[in-house]
Amino acid sequence: MSVKEAKVLEREPAPTHIEHEGILGEQFETLDQQNNAYLIGMWAFIVQEVLFLGAIFAAYGIYRLKYLHEFTLAHKELDWVVGGLNTLVLLASSYTMARAVRAAMQNKHGRQMLYLTFTLLFASVFMFNKYIEYSKKYEHHLIPGRGYDAHTIVEHAEHKELLEPLPDGNYKLKLETEKIVTPEEFKQRTQLFLGFYFILTGLHGLHVLVGMTVIGVLVGRAYIDYKKRKPVADYMPVEMVGLYWHFVDIVWIFIYPLLYLIGR
């Protein structure tokens, strides 16, 4: 009997985890303790993420109030169909992720591998759509920075009769209320919107990529467990990645209406 078990037996009469030898970290007494620690840790990390991204959402909200007309016109450049498709894709990936967690808990390694692969697939579809969206922005010179040019937004808005060039060169923005801005102001403020778009979706995409990497590792581990016909494996990694993955989805659930839908 190892020292670790001796310590546990000393105070806990029912060490249900003896078959979990090799899973329990050296610093923990019981598997319960370890699992709870991981869960609290993951939730604390998610809280941290909420504040990290929350600051950008707050800034976005403030500027949307301040530059309502410019932001509304700029957001019409976003493709709500592709965004909506991506929402569905991510929701589907959340479903398969939940099934993967369930399979891991039941030690059904084959099924776990299958569902994780589906999750990975959906995530790739999401990233592919993102790539299409981004390259369209590039074609229209809508990437913030030196090459940024608002003329596409102006043309589209003019076409929809939401923007009217005035004889003095300024623009009149016509929503429910009207507002007159200089071309330079219009450029800066629409660029600010696209800046928020790229920062938010970029950070979100980064999170998706991190998630995909970890899910890839989990697929490999599930495959090994499956080949070895391991009766019991630690399901906590899948559970934790699942939590993370659902969080990344929820961030998108906030991004989609705030950037793509409001004011359409």
Binding site: E10, Q27, I40, G41, Q48, L53, I56
Partner: protein, 559 residues
Amino acid sequence: MAMQTVAQSESKQINYLNWKTTVASWLLTYDHKRIGILYLISISLFFLLGGLAAALIRLELATPKGDLLTSDVYNKMFTIHGVLMIFFFLIPSIPAVFGNFVLPLMIGARDVAFPRLNLLSWYFFMAGAFLATVALLRGGIDTGWTFYTPYSSSFAKGEVSLAIMGVFLAGFSSIFTGINFLVTIHKMRAPGMTWFRLPLFVWAMYATSLIQVLGTPVVAITLLLVAIERSLRIGIFDPQLGGDPILYQHLFWFYSHPAVYIMILPGMGVISEVISAFSKKRVFGYHFVAFSSLAIAIIGFLVWGHHMFSSGQSIYAGLLFSFLSFLVAIPSAIKTFNWMTTIWKGRVHWEAPMVYALGFMGLFVIGGLTGLHLGALATNLHLTDTYFVVAHFHYVMVGGAIMAYLAALHYWWPKMTGRMYPQSWAKLSALLVFVGFNLTFFPQFILGYLGMPRRYHSYPEEWAALNLLSSAGASVLGFGYIIPVIYLVWSLKYGRIVTERNPWGARGLEWELVETPPDPHNFERTPIVTRPAYDYGHPEEPTGFVPKPRPVVVGGKDG
């Protein structure tokens, strides 16, 4: 001398320092004690660098004319001083060094909940420190540690973005430490170690971790936005580009005010430990002291606007923030009064940590009370951006946090190293720090009241005398900091060897059940706690814990 050699040969027992000695065993260690030591060494380096910058600043200000440094170099100096001292010394100081070293020992755990994350956080810290150092070496930056926009995003020359990335990484190091300690305190406590049996240092660390997890991400993303604005010219904070600099200040102080409590709360926890250990008395009003830590952390999130009274924030917001700022005084006062009543009728032992702790109390009270002058709207308008502010926050951060850090260092030094430093030198240096500190910063209160503004390298003749006094005090203070460095390093080789577990006769798992220096696995077996913390009422029973059989250990005092 002969006694020492005998003790040395007997103390061949395995401890966390000698069980593996390769460089890799240190750089890849998961042991919370070793990670604490890694932090201790790295932040000491940044403390010395930041102190050097401070010395140059005070040297320049010794005379009214700007004769030593040009205004440009002077700006870079106070930026180096601020960035290094705040992000790379004060914020990791007590949490990362002593939180890592003693927190698991205090709660009876073998390690923190996530040892690998713990090591990762040190690497994040070092990576951030590396980037910041490169930025400073490549010509430095002159934005001040606050990186105020639009100066930092549109005008400042130099490697601002690199320094920002350094702070960003250090911020995530802090977040990881916070998450780790939160989970450790929740899940790793030994059986019987209930919430109200926790030492108050643990309560303080819990409150600190909350701030680290809830506050730091906001400043991280804010600084990232500054770097993005700098490189892409998106108008997030620069009004010329359509942005709002006040928004930057809101987001920045939303973290950076609570960050002040990241610096002072662990210090308050240390003072509770030290005062109790050297008064041989339970901390008076344990529950009040514990909850006052949480109160400070929570109220601390609601007061950031008091940094912006003169920034164009609405007067009603100012009123509210002023009122909330005054509330912080209540839990702080609860702590101070409870420490005083702890000493009252205790058996006070005048060892070095106690002298440092008393120094903390004196300086912290002045720092805290002058905070009320700044929190009041009317006086703030007169004092804002003057040396009064400089003196106030140095009283809290240097007089408070660093005094507490030194108290902690002297208190746990024998446990960490197995060596004792010379007490008389330690007490002398505590006295020097106290006197030198007051000489340096008290004149600055007067200067600020007279209207001397911050961040200038020259000033009118009429303020020469007080500035000279301040610079003279700084040299005394410098000696006060150098002496401990010398005798502590000296003690590693020549100090009296400590083999007994509890050289101070203190209460707490880390003193009563852990070897000196600690075993790699901390405890022989997981302890079972049956008594409250600071159980000093039973002189006939040396430990506050269930006596349990344990194997004979070679090298103990009675071994």
